[in-house]
């Protein structure tokens, strides 16, 4: 029976089994064994594993669920069903329905379980809902994956959440050069670049943990050992309950893109170095390193043409032996001394693809030298400036014969261009630095600082020396507030007025003021400024600030001596005048006195010689008149002296006088402002005489302010064209002024309002101006002080040369007489 039953059971068209009450399998029929390809021993398991060996044939994913279900059936002691994939002898899993029934003894006590397993693969496949994703349709998963995966231009893989490879497409197998089985046997991340591996794994774990798509760039090793950059994206694939069952990974080859990006980044970095003012050698070295890392296997060098254009200079060659470079440096720029010299000389690329067979540069034995350093190929490309001047050569060396590919040619072109920018920039920087240093040195030596002021924005730029003069910190921007803290409080109102005037009117200015430092020390500075308009029409001032302190201090130390000297100079010039006046006047005076003496003696005689006395008295009167005539004659003589006619630029003449007078004005603390009209036409006349007038007016103005202490001693000299098209010069002071009724008296000879004055200046000045067909007059100011002006006709367009001295100057003498006689 036992055997018959066994045969019967084995023959049943199903997989039949029995189990003990505790669930352990104690029998499996022959079909079961045949189907799974397992032996009885394997199925039942040995010793403590007894009854569990069959589990090896169950799909691992399905086993936990199956066992759980089995336990609940056991507990229920009721018939039950379970589903799981069972592995066929050939490794293929197919779905089976496991049905179990309790076997009871006559007392209805369960003593055993028996079960039958039926292949339901076909049914299940039919049952799988069509809308279910392909990855859940296990039967179709691989077919589906391959139909998509093999046709996409990327490496594709399916991975379990545990990181095990389940499926890969054809491209993976081809790229990595390993079969799916080999890949499955590899450690996780093994195909990645060692440098990328830790990140790859960490990112993968993060993604799995968070269930978020994975997105990462990394290098994958190709079958030939070359690493290429890939952009990997991983998408989680979920079951109907939302659990992640698989990850679909796509690796897109981005190596070319990456390379281009790296090139661009390198280029950008190098250009940033250029812009950032790095040293040229630093930039060129970085460039060489970058080229070497981009085009692997090459050695890179840059040589420069020296300023004379005749020899090669060192640029950069970080990876070439020093002995090689030193033997190149200093070679003449010609076609014979080597490829770089030749490229520089011809301004053409020189390719030496194989130095072993190269015949050029033999004269200088260049090839043997290069070969001795292990170099077998050299490609040298000239570096040219934007203006086309050859600056040097950029060379790539290889230790094997080699011809540049088009890709390499474009790289060379790119880097030669960057090198030219770097070299050109460095050279212009160097010359700029030289001239800056020169300027700074010059500014420091002369104590002259410069500045730029944009009136609209109040943006002020100072030179180093200007900061030094103001003793202000260079790191903070210059503002009017900061400047005001340095301007001497007494000069501040005038300074502010001046700044406002500049802001409003533009024009050129020149004035002096004092600075007061925090330690109360005082500096004297002189400001000269020129206004212009920038591209957008905004007012701009450029100018200089000169520290006059040292000069001023030594001047003040000499102040007394100088004022005495100035006085003596005046006395000397007046002395010359009085000597000649004295001589001419002494003659008639002598007659007067002699006649008067004779007259007295004749009257004292006994009897008195009245007729003789009358005659001598008459002669006395006549001699008196003669003395007066002599003075008139003198004046005429004075006017005629040095009389020349020429075209005179009154502005220039004025500037010369100002130059002569500056120290005198400084000494008397007068603040001179010159407002000279830009387009002043020339006048005809005697330059020196006109300058005497200007000098006289300025000295008078300065003297008139010598006692002024309650206001700035402002002195303005102005030139302009007046309403009747004559050239007018005005000198305005803030001095003691004069009474309006005495305006005409001012010009009388010997009339003076000054304690130490001779009173002859203004009358002489007026006669000079009148001899120029002009007019000199004075007017009291609205405020304190007086204004003296003269105006003379502008030079006629076509002055006749024939109109010589005599004709021109006769009226001058007449005018002078008029002045003298008619005070």
């Amino acid at each position: 029976m036992e055997n018959e039953l066994s045969r019967l059971v084995d023959a049943l068209p199903g997989l039949v089994w029995t189990a003990r009450l505790d669930g352990k399998i104690d029998f499996l029929n022959q079909r079961w064994r045949e189907y799974t390809g397992l032996s009885v021993e394997e199925i039942l398991g040995a010793d403590e594993e007894y009854g569990r060996g069959w589990q090896a044939a169950i799909h691992p994913e399905d086993l936990p669920g199956l066992l759980e279900r089995w336990r609940s059936i056991l507990a229920s002691r009721e018939p039950g069903e379970m589903e799981a994939r069972l592995r066929r002898f050939d490794g293929e899993y197919r779905w089976f329905l496991f049905r179990a029934c309790p076997l009871a003894d006559p007392s209805a006590l369960v003593v055993k379980w028996c079960g039958i397993s039926t292949d339901i693969e076909d049914r299940r496949r039919a049952e799988e809902p069509l809308h279910a994703p392909w990855w859940l349709r296990s039967s179709e998963r691989e077919r589906h994956f391959r139909s998509i995966g093999d046709s996409i231009p990327a490496l594709g893989a399916l991975m379990t959440p545990a990181g095990e490879i389940e499926l890969v497409n054809r491209q993976v197998v081809e790229y990595l050069g390993a079969t799916l089985e080999e890949l499955k046997g590899q450690a996780i991340g093994e195909s990645f670049h060692p440098d990328d591996r830790p990140d790859v794994i960490a990112r993968w774990r993060e993604a799995v943990e968070a269930g978020q798509p994975y997105d990462f760039e990394s290098r994958l090793r190709r079958a030939d050992g070359v690493y290429r950059w890939f952009h990997t994206r991983g998408f989680p694939l979920r079951d109907t309950e939302g659990r992640i069952v698989l990850w679909y990974l796509l690796h897109a080859d981005i190596d070319d893109q990456k390379r281009a990006e790296a090139l661009l980044a390198g280029e950008k970095r190098l250009l940033e170095m250029v812009a950032g003012g790095h040293s040229m050698s630093g930039i060129l070295e970085a460039l060489c390193h970058f080229v070497e890392s981009t085009a692997s296997g090459c050695y890179c060098s840059v040589v420069l043409v020296d300023p004379s254009g005749t020899h090669l200079e060192h640029g950069a060659a970080p990876s070439l032996p020093a002995s090689f470079i030193t033997s190149i440096i200093g070679r003449p720029v010609n076609v014979d001394s080597g490829p770089c010299a030749m490229a520089s000389y011809l301004n053409e690329q020189v390719i030496a693809a194989d130095l072993t067979s190269e015949t050029r540069w033999a004269e200088y034995a260049w090839c043997p030298m290069a070969l001795a350093h292990g170099l077998q190929a050299c490609w040298s490309t000239p570096i040219s400036s934007t203006a086309g001047k050859v600056l040097g050569a950029f060379a790539l060396y290889y230790d094997e014969p080699r011809t540049p590919t088009s890709l390499e040619q474009s790289l060379i072109e790119q880097f030669t261009h960057i090198a030219s920018i770097a070299v050109e920039r460095a050279q212009s920087d160097a010359s700029l630095k030289r001239s800056e240093a020169f300027l700074a040195e010059a500014q420091h030596l002369s104590s002259i600082g410069s500045y730029l002021w944009r009136a609209a924005t109040d943006e002020i730029t100072w030179s180093e020396e200007t900061y030094r003069i103001f003793e202000l910190d260079q790191t903070a921007p210059v503002t009017w507030e900061r400047i005001s803290t340095r301007v001497h409080p007494e000069d501040l109102p005038a300074f502010k007025k001046q700044v406002e005037r500049c802001r409003r009117d533009g024009g050129n200015v020149e004035f002096e003021f004092r600075l007061q430092m925090p330690n109360r020390s005082v500096k004297y500075v002189r400001l000269v400024s020129h206004s212009s308009r920038d591209e957008s029409g905004q007012l701009e001032y450029t100018g200089t600030i000169q520290d006059m302190t040292e000069r001023r201090l030594s001047e003040e130390a000499l102040g007394k001596v100088r004022s005495e000297l100035a006085h003596m100079a005046r006395v000397t010039s007046l002395g010359a005048l009085t000597a000649s006046i004295a001589h001419e006047v002494s003659q008639p005076l002598s007659g007067i006195i002699t006649n008067a003496s004779t007259c007295l003696r004749m009257l004292a005689a006994d009897p008195p010689n009245v007729d003789g006395a009358r005659e001598t008295a008459r002669r006395t009167i006549r001699d008196g008149n003669r003395a007066s005539d002599v003075i008139t004659r003198l004046r005429a003589l004075f006017s005629r002296k040095n009389a020349t006619t020429e075209s005179v630029d009154l502005n220039e003449a004025t500037r010369e006088v100002i130059t002569l007078l500056l120290r005198e004005l400084q000494r008397s603390r007068a603040i001179l402002r010159a407002e000279l009209a830009d387009d002043l036409p020339p006048v005809t006349g005697d330059r020196v005489q006109l300058q005497q007038v200007i000098l006289n007016l300025l000295l008078n103005a300065s003297d008139a302010m010598s006692g002024v202490d309650d206001r700035p001693r402002e002195l303005v000299i102005r030139t302009e064209i007046d309403e009747s098209d004559r050239v007018r010069l005005t000198v305005q002071d803030a001095g003691v002024g004069f009474e309006p009724q005495s305006a005409d008296k001012l010009f009388e000879p010997f009339y003076t309002t000054k304690g130490g004055g001779m009173g002859i200046g203004l009358s002489v000045s007026r006669s000079i101006i009148e001899s120029h067909h002009g007019r000199l007059w004075a007017a009291p100011n609205d405020g304190p002080g007086a204004t003296f002006s003269f105006s003379i006709p502008r030079r006629p367009e076509n002055i006749k040369r024939a109109r010589s001295l005599g004709a021109t100057w006769t009226p001058a003498v007449m005018d002078a007489q008029h002045v003298m006689r008619n005070p």
Partner: protein, 123 residues
């Protein structure tokens, strides 16, 4: 009739030529005026002149020129120079060269008188 000593005046300035002879006559001398050195040298008075009042700066021959000329001609006439140029350095030089006096114009009658006294004082 007292024979008055002749004093000649040489000066280019007319007022001197007009006024000085009158004063000299009042002082008791005979007087003649000449407008230049050349005129004086050409005149008959050269030999009778006992004293010469001579301007320094004149057009043509100057005072000192005339003095040298007279020395050359061995005419020892005492000379009183007069000048409108008040140059103190001139006077000692002229005195050194034999002038009796040098008067700066304008000069007083007293100063003239003293100079003439000196000129006529027997040496």
């Amino acid at each position: 009739m007292v024979i008055r000593s002749l004093v000649s005046v040489v000066d280019d300035d007319e007022s001197v030529r007009e006024s000085l002879p009158d004063l000299l006559r009042e002082l008791g001398f005979a007087a003649q005026a000449f407008s230049s050195a050349e005129e004086f040298l050409a005149s008959d008075c050269l030999c009778q002149t006992r004293c010469l009042i001579l301007d320094i700066a004149m057009p043509g021959m100057s005072g000192p020129d005339l003095q040298r000329e007279l020395t050359l001609r061995r005419k020892a006439i005492p000379i009183v120079f007069i000048t409108a140029h008040r140059d103190e350095t001139v006077r000692p030089r002229l005195l050194e060269q034999g002038a009796v006096e040098c008067l700066f114009k304008p000069f007083s009658d007293t100063a003239l008188r003293e100079a003439l006294d000196a000129a006529f004082r027997p040496s």
